[in-house]
């Protein structure tokens, strides 16, 4: 294995490959920053260019675009509430409020450092254990994925402010319902009303762009006074400042560590991915946070920003485990990369790191280099990019509207998507006006589809019995964790009440 790593290292540091890491990361950051436009189309269109290359060089370039896009995607999430890629939707939950409070530079810096740490820690995991991790990827069956999605739903508490719990659950339900639109596993159309455009269901990114970017920009138009004051405050504030205090670093280090591990393992599972990882990490940190910190989530918590941003990058690196060691793509983007690898004549699978160590290890090693390049590339730009918010609203708002609409259109090249987007944005504005949170809806939507598909498969496999929920150890364990998360606060509350009573009784006696 050491020989292989050395071969990989010597391949990764050849001038052409270093150049490709740079080109890939640069292009990726840019693609990621453009709202809506994800890495998948960019990589698909890039494949013909890579045919003349050595397989390692081609893969290094495409991998750079992939994690570069997830790195860069946070920028538009934070600045204009328009997620660059699906994996950075959760970044907007706390990143955008931070930017609005005048801390855009700080938020961008934390996102960059978190992405860097997540990507680098994941690359270390890959280097140490990639071949062995193949079995982890295969240990999850449909029943376990179902349990994982249920666990993910507990993250809804992260979005529920005081007294808002019922509303948050209501919005999660709405998200679950929206995820059932389209053709289901048995080929039956649901809620399509005979419209051909609804057969494939709604796209997550479209929903996120409409509810966040579009409705936010339209709110600015609807309520001009309220926002112009905020804007003033923002411009006066330290918009471009990237200062992070020592206490904050100390506070965020464990968050980054936890989210890297979680994100990486979710990424390794072929049935999950970066988006799920970011939502789970966000929910997990909310559960770990102190009561005081909990209230900050959704209103500009640094932890709430660092967690999803670390997890999505760790997950994108983790997704190379099933791709390289099993030849199984976990996402659309990795599926395109698999196609490219095969057309180079490289067969990914358990023997890849033995038969083709140069390709296997050089891609992994290029990820370290890539993450450093991304950090160096992004940090100096932050003060300038953050200044974007200092633009007058008359210019910024139309720009946001334009980029969000174009971004979604470019993904599907389907005009109906723009119409659906506007409709969703109008509904979202109404929901905002009556103070209903939209993030739980996105959570329900992203988990809903996977939850239903996996439950139906598990039921099919177990002949309609639900016994798998306790008979499969992995499923049972995940469900048990879910139960603990759900009931622990309740039980803790009950104990507190008892203790208080007991104390009072003691006081009375004393």
């Amino acid at each position: 294995m050491l020989d292989g790593i050395l071969t990989g290292l010597s391949t990764a540091v050849t001038p052409i490959n270093l150049l490709m890491v740079f080109v890939g990361c640069f292009a990726g950051t840019f693609i990621g920053m453009l709202p809506g436009l994800g890495p998948i189309s960019a990589i698909a269109l890039m494949i013909p260019i890579t045919y003349g290359f050595d397989p390692s060089t081609g893969m290094i370039l495409m991998a750079g675009v992939y994690y570069g896009a997830i790195f860069g995607g946070s920028t538009s999430s934070i600045l204009i509430n328009a997620p660059g890629v699906a994996g950075t939707v959760a970044t907007a939950f706390d990143g955008y409020p931070l930017a609005k409070q005048g801390h855009a530079g700080k938020a961008l810096a934390i996102a960059a450092y978190s992405s860097f740490s997540g990507g680098t820690i994941a690359a270390i995991f890959l280097l140490i254990a990639a071949p062995a991790l193949a079995s982890v990827a295969l240990s999850f069956q449909s029943a376990d994925y179902f349990a994982l999605m249920i666990l993910g739903l507990t993250a809804v508490s992260a979005f529920a402010g005081k007294g808002k719990f019922l509303i948050a659950i209501l919005m999660t339900m709405l998200g679950l319902m929206l995820s059932t639109i389209g053709q289901d596993q048995s080929g039956i159309q649901r809620f399509t009303f005979g419209a051909i455009d609804l057969i494939d269901g709604l796209s997550f990114l479209l929903l996120a762009m409409a509810t966040f970017a579009l409705s936010e920009a339209l709110m600015v138009v609807l309520k001009p006074e309220a926002t112009s004051k905020e804007a003033e405050k923002a411009t006066k504030g330290d918009l471009g400042s990237m200062k992070i205090t020592k206490e904050e670093v100390k506070d965020l280090a464990p968050v980054v560590a936890r989210s890297s591990v979680l994100g990486f393992f979710i990424g390794v599972l072929p049935g999950a991915g970066a988006t799920i990882a970011s939502f789970l990490a966000y929910g997990m940190e909310r559960n770990f946070a102190s009561a005081k910190e909990k209230l900050k989530f959704g209103k500009g918590s640094l932890r709430g920003l660092a967690a999803p941003e670390t997890a999505n990058n760790a997950a994108s690196s983790g997704s190379f485990v099933p791709l390289l060691t099993l030849g199984i793509p976990g996402s659309g983007t990795t599926a395109v990369m698999l196609g490219a690898l095969i057309s180079y004549g490289v067969q990914p699978g358990p023997r890849l790191f033995v038969e083709n160590p140069a390709v296997f290890w050089s891609v992994i090693i290029s990820m370290y280099i890539g993450n450093i390049i991304l950090l160096v590339l992004n940090l100096p730009l932050i003060p300038y990019i953050a200044r974007l918010l200092a633009l007058p609203k008359q210019i910024l708002t139309p720009m946001i509207l334009f980029f969000s609409l174009i971004g979604v259109y470019l993904v599907s090249a389907n005009t109906i998507d723009i119409q659906i987007m506007v409709l969703v944005a109008i509904i979202a504005i109404f929901l905002r006006l009556i103070d209903f949170p939209l993030a739980p809806m996105l959570l329900g939507f992203i988990l809903g589809g996977l939850m239903e598909d996996n439950l139906r498969r598990a039921l099919d496999i177990y002949d309609g019995e639900i016994s798998f929920m306790w008979e499969r150890p992995l499923t049972a364990s995940i469900l048990a964790i879910t139960a603990v998360i759900l009931f622990a606060p309740m039980i803790k509350g009950l104990i507190d009440i008892r203790r208080n009573k007991a104390l009072k009784v003691n006081d009375g006696e004393g």
Binding site: I40, S41, I43, A44, L45, P48, Y51, A137, L138, S139, F140, Q141, S142, A143, Q183, D184, Q185, S186, G187, Q189, I196, D197, I199, D200, P270, G271, P322, L326, G327, I328, P329, G330, G332, A335, V336, L338, G339, I342, S343, Q347, P348, G349, P350, R351, L352, V411, S412, A413, N414, I416, D453, R457, D460, I461, D463
Partner: protein
């Protein structure tokens, strides 16, 4: 209105000129002559990176590089399982004189299940270009060594044979499995099909042990077998292929079932017979070019050229077989 007609007539003149050139230049010189067809616009009913996308871009690349076609442009239009692009091609037929839409077996299945109201009859089938057989795959450590062992288990207890596939119930992977077990003397309604949302996820399901057999395309199966994780029990060609001579057909295992997932091109309704003949001539020449061989080998495609009339008959035949099977399974 006026602008549209002038554009059309100019296009018409150009294509006639191109045809005249290629005819006038006599056969031996055709390779150095101007392109046979001035330009082709490929309409792709799915997103970048999919199978349709690869077929259109690969064909376009081979046609232009070999000089058979002057320029090729590509347009991705996803939505409605391909229905969006079909509707668009029909609605704007008068402006789509140079357009070829790529499609495959699902156009037959989806028009049967009324996912979209149109069928291949509403378009002008131009040619079938490449094909892929279906294959049945088990993990390398599976107890099954041949497909007949699977059939024996299926007949004893259909529930014990869980078949994974990368598409919804009632779509290709499911229908092929039902067809095979029916031909083997079993009841196709008993087939326990477990749908996944992509081929890769179905493969992960198979390797995780939750399903026992995977129904997928042969070219994908060959790649998987090469990585040493799976074994291919059977494929659905009428004869063994030269790419994988060691893989037995269903027919030779006594199961009379064949299936080919074709990919081919369709033109807008109203496209003239002459234009279709031009396309066919260009495509036929394409198979002998080195540029096509590069594209074909890169993607592991199997050449299955079906010129327009053969293609049409084939589509009708496939529609009949699939339709009967779907009726029996209760999907229609």
């Amino acid at each position: 209105m006026f602008g549209k007609t002038t554009k059309l007539s100019r296009r018409f003149v150009l294509s006639m000129a191109a045809a005249a050139v290629s005819v006038g230049m006599a056969m031996p010189l055709s390779s150095v002559s101007a392109a046979d067809i001035d330009k082709i616009h490929f309409l792709i009913p799915g997103g970048a990176g999919g199978g349709w996308d690869g077929t259109a871009r690969g064909t376009g690349e081979a046609l232009t590089k070999s000089g058979l076609v002057g320029t090729a442009s590509f347009e991705n239009m996803s939505g409605g399982g391909g229905g969006k692009a079909i509707a668009h091609l029909i609605e704007t037929a008068d402006r789509q004189g140079d357009t070829l839409m790529v499609n495959s077996t699902p156009i037959v299945i989806r028009s049967l299940t009324k996912v979209f109201p149109q069928s291949f009859r509403d378009l002008v089938p131009v040619a079938g270009v490449i094909g892929d057989y279906a294959a049945f795959v088990v993990p390398a450590d599976s107890k099954y060594k041949s497909f007949s062992e699977v059939v024996t288990d299926f007949k004893a207890d259909p529930k014990s044979v869980k078949i994974a596939g990368g598409s919804a119930r009632g779509s290709m992977d499911h229908l092929v499995a039902a067809q095979a077990f029916k031909a083997a003397g079993g009841n196709p309604n008993d087939v326990k099909y477990i749908p996944y949302d992509a081929g890769g996820k179905a493969m992960a399901g198979l390797l995780s042990g939750e399903t026992s057999i995977l129904s997928t395309g042969l070219s994908e199966a060959i790649e998987l077998e090469r990585s040493g994780q799976v074994r291919i029990l059977a494929m659905t060609g009428a004869n063994r292929t030269s790419d994988a001579p060691n893989i037995p057909t269903l027919t030779e295992q006594g199961i009379d079932a064949t299936f080919v997932n074709w990919r081919g091109f369709f033109a807008a309704p109203g496209t003239s017979k002459e234009k279709v003949a031009e396309y066919n001539a260009a495509l036929e020449k394409m198979y002998d070019t080195a540029d096509w061989e590069t594209v074909r080998a890169r993607n592991g495609w199997v050449d299955v050229f079906q010129p327009a009339d053969v293609f049409y008959t084939f589509l009708e035949e496939q529609e009949g077989i699939i339709g009967d099977l779907m009726r029996e399974l209760g999907f229609l």
